[in-house]
């Protein structure tokens, strides 16, 4: 079908843009802040994908060392990735040596092609490639449907280097080391965290949601185990699982965490509280669903009754809670 330009539409659009100018020329979700020395966060808008937010809904950012830059997550589209690259170039000219993808979800992974020109190593969980490949057409179609022209040129990039479950990969950026850890199935089956030893910052990405409702796309039991261990231990493991067992306090193999960068929501220093909130939500739905399964109940019954007391505690509750209950029901049915 041939598209016809409606006369005056462009002018109308321009005047609308001009009207918005006083509110800030810079659209939401396109600036980065230095949350700790050398660590820059481009905070995501706490919304679901929609044209007004350009798909800038996840926390993405970068870490600058003395010799190189590592990108952590890339946004929903090629354009968002390019925006992030521009922000990096405002800060430093150092080579972008690594692009780390924390998991498969489109709001984190689909801007990766923006960094091809830098020829970085793309690093992800060992199961990331398979997970992305099986979702490729669905994700790209959705982004095109929802974001239209803003998603133009978006394509998937698969990791060139991987981190296995329980494995830790250390990257040296010059003057700071990043420890990348692969997890067993939790938020997804391909979650990866990044720990910066210079500032004690743990970039947990979607293993932690702050203020926004957690989204379960892997295993509830696996997720509860990981956040439970992190909370109980109070430090982050930077040695592989095969290394000798750790003591429950900060040591060489288990490092102090000063702040956590969640995948969605503000950076937290009182991070045990944030982990606790997420744990509470996940445990409430697990308990409610187990009860319904025991009574022979169904998914729609669980969706209509479980965890509703959490509604006022989370953003986007109505958009994602039913989905969480559905997915968790199918998991717990096999206990």
């Amino acid at each position: 079908m041939k598209r016809r330009e409606i006369p005056g539409l462009r002018l109308l659009f321009l005047s609308m843009v001009l009207l918005l100018l006083p509110a800030g020329v810079v659209a939401r979700g396109v600036t980065a802040e230095e949350i700790a020395p050398g660590i820059y966060l481009r905070p995501g808008i706490q919304e679901e994908f929609a044209p007004p937010n350009h798909g800038h809904i996840a926390n993405i950012g970068f870490i600058v060392g003395n010799q190189a830059v590592a990108v952590i997550d890339t946004g929903s589209t090629l354009n968002e990735g390019l925006w992030l690259r521009r922000l990096i170039r405002e800060v430093t000219d150092l080579p972008i040596a690594y692009v780390i993808l924390t998991h498969m979800h489109p709001d984190h992974s689909l801007g990766a092609a923006a960094f091809r020109q830098d020829e970085p190593e793309y690093i992800g969980h060992k199961q990331l490639s398979g997970a992305l490949a099986s979702r490729q057409s669905v994700y790209l179609n959705r982004m095109n449907q929802i974001l239209g022209i803003m998603a133009k040129g978006t394509e998937m990039v698969l990791p060139t280097r991987t981190v296995d479950v329980g494995e830790v990969l250390k990257l040296d950026l010059g003057g700071r080391g990043l420890y990348l850890r692969g997890y067993p199935t939790a938020h997804t089956n391909n979650d990866l965290s990044v720990y910066d030893d210079k500032t004690g910052t743990l970039w947990l990405s979607d293993l932690l949601f702050v203020e926004r409702i957690p989204v379960m796309d892997g295993s509830l039991r696996g997720w509860l185990k990981i956040i439970g261990e992190l909370g109980d231990r109070g430090c982050v493991q930077v040695a592989a699982d095969s290394a000798p067992p750790l003591k429950a306090e900060a040591s060489e193999g288990c490092k102090t965490v000063n702040r956590i960068v969640p995948g969605h929501g503000p950076v937290v220093t009182q991070w045990k509280q944030a982990l606790g909130d997420q744990r509470r939500y996940l445990e409430i739905i697990a308990t409610g669903i187990r009860k319904i399964i025991k009574q022979g109940g169904t998914i729609p019954e669980a969706v209509a009754s479980v965890g509703l007391e959490e509604r006022d505690k989370w953003l986007l509750f109505d958009q994602f809670h039913g989905r969480n209950v559905t997915a968790v029901f199918a998991e717990l049915e096999w206990e």
Binding site: E48, F49, S76, H105, P106, D107, Q127, S129, G130, A131, L132, A133, S134, R135, Q136, S137, V138, Y139, N141, R142, M143, I146, M156, L158, T185, T188, N189, V215, D217, G218, S219, G296, T298, I299, P300, V303, Q319, F320, G322, R323, T326, A327, F329, A330, E333, W334
Partner: protein, 282 residues
């Protein structure tokens, strides 16, 4: 898991024929991506492949169809079909077709009933890829067709109709469970859930790593019997969710053995049985 060779051979020819039809349909629909833009046309194609030019009547009096207005998890969309018909040996639902117009393979399942076990409600879970019409079509024992349909919106941006944990799904492949209330009486309708651990992998996904399409691996036939007598047989396809779940009801007239025989697209067979005493405890 046990291999079984006790499948009911009756109707196999029809099954084979149906399988070819389903495969053909699936291929046609993948090839004709342009069709996806025209829902009406797509249903027209599906309809003529399944039923030729037989007339389909509005089925509000015969069937109820419950589905969420929006798919919450694209991989697990629960649907329930109610029989509003007073089923008798003279007039009963012989076959029930479940169609999801805009899925890559639109015919999700076809249930066949022998007419001996009346049922009131049937539930399963399906994958829904995109905004689509969902249809249940009943073929009655007199050959007449009745249809009900619902519109289902696709789920949010990060929800995909894919396996959440393929390794875990494969690890327990073939495990089967029956779930039913502990409390029941002979002669009453016994609500039963059948759960089959199976990745039910579509095979439509291009694996960028291996540069090949992932081979399909899904449940093809599910036959449930009570004391050797068929309760229902379902021909299933890739639109059925991972770890297929079917809730059905039947009336056990005497104590006996509830059995299920499952066959998948790779030719594996699985079976499971459960003894039902004349009366449940309670």
């Amino acid at each position: 898991m046990t291999a079984v060779s006790t499948m009911n051979h009756k109707g196999r020819r029809w099954n084979t024929c149906l399988q070819y039809t389903l495969i053909l349909l699936c291929l046609c629909l993948i090839a004709g991506t342009a069709w996806a833009k025209d829902d009406g046309n797509r249903w027209f194609q599906i309809k003529s492949s399944l039923f030729g030019d037989k007339q389909i009547q509005s089925g509000e009096q015969i069937l109820g169809l419950e589905s969420p207005a929006r798919a919450m998890d694209a991989a697990i969309v629960p649907i329930t079909i109610d029989s509003k018909l007073e089923q008798t040996p003279d007039r009963y639902i012989k076959s029930l077709y479940l169609v999801i117009d805009n899925n890559p393979s639109p015919v999700a399942a076809v249930f066949h009933f022998p007419g001996k076990h009346s049922w009131e409600t049937l539930s399963t879970r399906v994958r829904i890829n995109a905004y689509t019409d969902l249809r249940a079509i009943a073929e009655l024992s007199d050959g007449k067709l009745y249809m009900v349909n619902n519109y289902v919106k696709a789920s949010g941006g990060c929800s995909a109709p894919s396996l959440k944990d393929p390794a875990a799904a494969m690890a327990q492949l073939g495990k089967i469970k029956f779930r039913m209330p502990e409390d029941y009486s002979q002669g009453d309708l016994l609500p039963t859930q059948l759960l089959i651990k199976h990745p039910n992998n579509s095979g439509l996904q291009f694996d960028q790593v291996s540069r090949f399409y992932i081979p399909a691996d899904f449940v093809r036939t599910i036959q449930v019997t009570y004391n050797g007598e068929e309760v229902f047989t379902a021909d299933t396809d890739i639109s059925i969710s991972e770890d297929p779940s079917i809730r059905f009801g039947f009336i056990p007239q005497e104590s006996g053995v509830l059995e299920v025989h499952v066959k998948d697209s790779k030719g594996r067979t699985f079976s499971h049985s459960m003894d039902l005493p004349s009366q449940g405890k309670g």
